[in-house]
Symmetry: C2
Subunit: 226 residues, 2 copies
């Protein structure tokens, strides 16, 4: 499948590399190709320059937001949450229409420092905002409840015996995403229902941040025991 990953940070890179390894044809979308390739220092989160990563994964394409989305059969939003709507607007509503749009972002607001808050929270979610902004896209919220490394390698924690969630209004889109998750090694995938249930996924972030501090590692996840 031709997949566009919107976002050049560690989440976008990790998902792009893994999806390429799984046999998909992946293109990363960025606001400004030249600027992305020219950067030669780590970003504010400490992520190494994109060009360094891309030198090891030349098979992953690099294009503008709009070019990547236009060419993709499935689009992944891997931008930072507060920048997602703007980035997806750059991708273009017409280029997202009818496509599965996988939203893995959390709307983290660092304006008050660490730990970040969520904006929106409880009465709305980023997943719903994206679905409202792009009503012809088939938004599926997932993977926002674990660290990047765990996203693509669930077995690195507890032998993979833990849970990942799906939220979305389009059952067929959720089936497509569920198959991608299974290919990455996810075995316990819970479909929570419509995109409104993205609120619950995003709000897990607050306790995830508690646990990050308490456990001193991001290598954990929750399992729904039932």
């Amino acid at each position: 499948m031709k997949i566009a990953v919107i976002g050049t940070g560690s989440v976008g890179r990790t998902l792009a590399g893994t999806l390429e390894t799984l046999g998909h044809q992946v293109t990363i979308g960025t606001r400004d190709i030249a600027a992305t390739l020219a950067r030669d220092t780590p970003d504010q989160l400490g992520t190494p320059p994109f060009a360094l990563w891309h030198a090891d994964r030349p098979e992953v394409g690099l294009a503008t937001f709009a070019e990547a989305a236009a060419d993709g059969e499935l689009v992944v939003n891997a931008t930072s949450g507060l920048a997602s709507l703007e980035a997806l607007s750059g991708a273009g509503a017409a280029n997202l229409a009818g496509k599965v749009l996988v939203d893995v972002a959390n709307p983290l607001d660092y304006s008050q420092g660490f730990p970040p808050g969520l904006d929106p929270v409880d009465s709305d979610s980023l997943g719903e905002r994206i679905q409202r902004a792009f009503p012809e896209a088939r938004v599926v919220k997932t993977l926002c409840t674990v660290n990047t490394k765990v996203m693509v390698d669930p077995a690195r924690v507890g032998g993979g015996e833990h849970t990942i969630f799906l939220s979305g209004d389009d059952a067929e889109a959720k089936a497509v995403v569920g198959a991608l998750l299974a290919a990455m090694g996810w075995r316990d995938i819970i479909d929570l229902g419509g995109i409104r249930t993205a609120r619950g996924q995003e709000m897990l972030m607050r306790n995830w941040l508690n646990l990050l501090t308490t456990l001193g590692t991001a290598d954990f996840n929750i399992k729904v025991v039932r």
Copy 2:
């Protein structure tokens, strides 16, 4: 230990009955004893009249908020979240001072129907509000992430192999509460840190409500796999 359970609903009754069975001397606190005993129809949540329950558990005392709290060495807040501060004010700051105050409530706001929202959420928590309102109490947030039946009988789900959390500023108070949890059968108890981490516990409610709908049962919990 002499324990006061503030709140006559199903959470208060279940915790009171279990703590009594575990050997503690338990008194339930209510706003109005006569009114509580006179009620002869189920409440709005379908909980049977208190007097019916109390007939089977006469060894559990019934007193006013203030009498129960004054007599208790440890106090449990088992009121509905939006009524907690008022009920605890009725119990009286002087009667809570220096005592372990176990807060198991979620600040559920049903004003928009079901599922309820949380108020406060993310930038504050009920646990923190209680600690601020009663600075001399030693507030410990716990048990707000599971159904009432699971609270007191974790083994009813997955053999008890799942997680419960503690948040609070007083390490000794958390140790006391951790021992009570262990007596109820909890084996995986994670101390998240200060009372500020109550936000993460309370915010799990949103996905708990998702799962309640999806799974069609309240007999579940999360395990932190690490």
